[in-house]
Symmetry: C2
Subunit: 265 residues, 2 copies
């Protein structure tokens, strides 16, 4: 077994493998128990507006760490990391248009860039699993279903738009427990934002998600909706900053922090 | 009974009385159940650093609302308010020096100013009271005891310094309950940061607080320490911005939000 297929790899070794070009795939399941994050990198002129947007919308945009202008080491959550090289695959958007995917952004890095690390649902999915709530998309090795809703986010400066949610089918007798379990993790999306009726939040066809794969809903399953980390990217894309660099979906930044570091009780 | 001595006044009427110069005293106990906030107003050039400082130090600096540059209405938490006139007493600091106290800052307001509303301990004190935990400083009508600790805050840009804590003596058999009760309110300082031994957090003499009044500790009481909303002001003073406007201690901004709006469970 090579390092790159050993799920029990440490976060720092995984980041080193990524940095050296030996690991280029999605990070789901690797370094289990550690916080993985969404990444959004923006020029300083947008940073106050985007930070305020995240503060006003903590459920879809839970901040794990913000690196100050030009800083590329996540000192608080991943000492000795380098955000320019430690994500397996990046996306570069210019004026809202995807212009390239790359394994390394060192050559386009500038001292003006501010990095936002935002919580990811991998953390609360582990908590659900630990409580005996198994998720169909993980069993089926598909991507979770995500939808653009009619729930507006709270605007900030140039940033505004609708909330994106992820949906997980939960057996009827586990729904209450799923609320309790995820409420403990407000910094990785927290409690659901809706249970049961997709139409009430502007979703016409549960089998036609806007992102990810179609869900498997079994008899007795209830659709449960959580605020989704795709929201900040969708919002930023909608607002068309001159440049924004993100991770490519599934290719997350892996921190040294443990999921339990972010539980509030 | 005049309006100004009726504790059951609504937040909007209380703000109106303050705006019209009819109410100029501390707000403790008025409009019970509603969120009162610390106020810090800074020029835009400091706003990203200060917002990031608050994000990195959520226990002492829990953000309730941030008003965008030049905005003086707290649209999210107190519609129709005016932050230039709705605080009973303001303090103006220039380069870290207190230069005036005033009931109205409309004449020094500029379109460049960003307002931060930060959570206040009045909310969790209500929660403690509701759980049968009575507080000596309220019974004695004195100010809570506050101390500068040896616990560093997490710096951000130009802002750094030690955490300020408040201390409440809690009967030994109520200490665990006080942790549970306040853990539910992470946006108004949340769980304690220390229980029991003042020396371990750099407090030499529990009877000589740096702010507020000396405590009354009875036999069987345990000193319990919470992160304090004086921290952001102390930090900003330490960092000497060209101008910062704050509320005067005890003279808070009263929002329409209820304490329970900010409980996480």
């Amino acid at each position: 077994m090579t390092i790159a297929t050993n799920y029990q790899i440490s976060p720092s070794l995984l980041r080193s493998e990524i940095r050296n070009g030996k690991f280029k795939k999605p990070t789901s399941g690797f370094a289990p128990g550690h916080i993985q994050t969404n990444v959004a990198i923006l020029p300083k002129k947008y940073a106050f507006d985007f930070l305020l947007f995240c503060q006003r919308n903590p459920k879809p945009c839970p901040i794990i760490e913000v690196l100050e202008p030009g800083k590329y080491e996540a000192q608080l959550t991943a000492p000795n990391s380098d955000i320019r090289s430690d994500v397996p695959l990046y996306r570069v958007y210019e004026h809202g248009i995807l212009t390239q995917e790359t394994n390394n952004i060192t050559n386009i890095w500038t001292s003006d860039l501010v990095t936002f690390l935002l919580g990811c649902s991998f953390s609360f999915e582990s908590a659900l699993k630990n409580n005996g709530i198994n998720l169909a998309h993980i069993k089926n090795n598909t991507n979770v279903s995500m939808y653009i809703t009619n729930i507006p986010t709270s605007p900030a400066g140039m940033f505004s738009g609708p909330m994106v949610v992820s949906m997980r089918p939960i057996p009827n007798n586990k729904v209450i427990r799923s609320v309790q379990v995820t409420s403990r993790f407000p910094e990785v999306h927290g409690a659901p934002i809706h249970i049961g009726n997709p139409e009430l939040i502007g979703i016409d066809d549960i089998y036609a998600p806007h992102f990810g794969d179609a869900p498997e809903l079994n008899p007795g399953d209830v659709p449960v909706f959580w605020a989704c980390g795709v929201t900040p990217q969708a919002i930023a894309m909608n607002s068309k900053p001159s440049i924004m660099i993100t991770h490519s979906p599934g290719h997350m930044f892996v921190t040294d922090k443990m999921d339990e570091d972010y539980s509030i009780l």
